[in-house]
Amino acid sequence: MLPSSPSFASSRAVSSEGRSSVRESTTSGRFADSRLLRDVVGVVVIAVAGAAGYWLFPDSLALLTRVIAVALLVLSLDLVVGYCGVATLGHAALFGAGAYAAGMACLRGVTEPMTLILIGAAAGAAAGLVMGTVMLRAHGLAQLVLSIALVQLAHEAANKASAYTGGSDGLAGFSPSPLFGTFEFDLWGRTAYLFGLVLLIGVFILLKFVVASPFGMLCRGIKEDPVRIRAMGAFVFPVLLKMFVISGAVAGAGGALAALSTQVVGLDSVSFELSANSLVMLVLGGLGSLYGALVGTVIFMSFEHVVSAINPFHWMTMVGALLIAVVLVAPGGLGGLAGRLFPAAPVKGDDRGGQS
């Protein structure tokens, strides 16, 4: 089943490491306490950074909202790539499903923002179910190619079904009603930004529970050694499919947020480029760490904003060089690098147990 089975020595080392971390996290109460404290601090830091963005850049809140929407996509990608070890280059299909579902629902009279986010999440989850069912049949290269083919197929379908999606012109002309009946989605994007920030923090806390749960541990185990997990009596496929659905819901919510804030859904939201870029952001920040996903998104998108305004080709050279450097120098991304430089850093290394 596996392309190459790992040597006995390495698999034994990995498993004993994993087992000791399980024992620590379940039996040592003090450890759990410090971990909870770290996560609370982490969430507070995110909230403070978000509020700082609101006060420091009041003129570019639209961009910041876009960053939040993409951060949700990268978080969802992290669930699949970082925690399950399933390489995909087609995750924007789930993001786009959420965006288009929210846009279409809004055009047809459902304008309440919270409902629209839920609709987007549901559409993303459904798309995740389909994508997972197709992708998880294969392994390795075939899996990667399937993910690309799926996102391209979704792209062509969205382009073709212009009666529903607006085709290459994009889906426009919908306007969500005010949040809680009072806060308008205004031109400056204040409501959209704060709404997005709260959504991001909520999703982040939820995902922290998901990845720390026995289910999350099982996913990480599958990433390390699927054969061993199967031998333990767990079914691999349903577990991964469940993670795919959760990931789809998160990506769909991100897509819906993007649709609400810009009030237009373009074909680029189901593109291979967005999928590849989100993978780059994730790797830049560090695989298998929810903080890494956020850090990578913020750094990537702010640099993109600055450099590509000067010359888009300089931007491509820079991203390319950065990617090569990350692969050669810091396989764990910036998060991993920071963890290595400052081993006692409070937010690092808590959920990167699966790194090898």
Partner: protein
């Protein structure tokens, strides 16, 4: 009947152009186990060199092809030595990231030096004129591409099956450690086959420029197409790559002729179906 014939000619020529580019990728992926998404980037470098040679240096078509192949190989050797050699045997994700990075760098740097415009590679008069086959005239360039494709396929088959280099290559593929112990210099074998693959990419990029025009984002735009063709055919298999190129070329061309509004829809639907049924590709070997 006319339509069927012109679809067949176009599909065959397009398939052959794809084949010349993709067979190099199939070699690197099947033999060296590197998912090289930067393959199209090397074809793009070749296209830029050929265009530059013809427009600025005033050389002929044949000389431009030769220059572009040599230039691309010259560029690829240090890249193989310093970057690819570190990712042999790494997980797919690492290889994908590294090669996407190389692609981005190539796009950025080539467009910085040559300018972000569509690069044309003018055909000589002998190739642009239609050739009368007796019952129908066919563009000479189409016939040229088909001939090139067949020659490349035959030449590669001869190289791998009949020469001593081919024997060493196959030994390295089957068991690199054992081949090394028996005195095959595997590093050299890898470097030479990488150079051959890049040379083929360069040749295909220039010859196939009529079908896949050389433009600033060439490497990104066709990255997916090349990868898909190779995985459908089965990495490392020459007949597999040939079959995949002809089948996918036929599906793509037929779709464009008969239902242009669907774009690449049928192409990717066919890819998903084939990959689901044959996870190792049409003629890929079990590992």
């Amino acid at each position: 009947m006319q339509t069927v014939f012109s679809i067949a000619i176009d599909a065959f020529a397009y398939g052959m152009a794809l084949f010349i580019i993709c067979i190099g990728l199939s070699l690197t992926m099947g033999l060296m186990r590197v998912v090289n998404l930067a393959h199209g980037a090397f074809a793009m470098i070749a296209g830029y060199i050929a265009s530059y040679a013809q427009k600025e240096l005033g050389t002929g078509y044949a000389v431009a092809i030769l220059l572009s192949i040599l230039g691309t190989i010259a560029v690829s050797i240090p890249i193989e030595r310093f970057l690819y050699r570190r990712i042999y045997g790494s997980p797919e994700l690492t290889q994908v990231l590294m090669t996407i990075g190389i692609t981005f760098c190539v796009i950025g740097i080539t467009n910085y030096f040559f300018g972000p415009t569509l690069k044309t590679i003018p055909l000589p008069a002998s190739l642009s004129a239609p050739v009368d086959l007796g019952f129908r005239a066919v563009a000479g360039h189409r016939l040229f591409v088909m001939a090139c494709g067949l020659i490349v396929a035959a030449g590669l088959w001869f190289l791998i099956e009949k020469t001593s280099f081919g024997i060493r290559l196959r030994a390295t593929v089957d068991n690199a450690g054992m081949a090394d112990a028996l005195g095959v210099r595997t590093q050299v074998v890898y470097a030479v086959s990488f150079a051959i693959a890049m040379g083929l990419a360069a040749f295909g990029g220039v010859v196939g420029a009529e079908f896949l025009p050389i433009e600033p984002y060439y490497a990104l735009r066709y990255m997916v197409t090349f990868l898909v063709v190779v995985s459908v055919g089965g990495a490392g298999s020459i007949p597999g790559a040939l079959l995949a190129c002809l089948v996918l070329g036929a599906i793509d061309t037929t779709g464009r002729y008969l239902m242009p509004e669907f774009g690449n829809f049928f192409f990717y639907a066919a890819v998903i179906a084939i990959v689901c049924i044959f996870p190792r590709g049409l003629l890929g070997r079990a590992q």
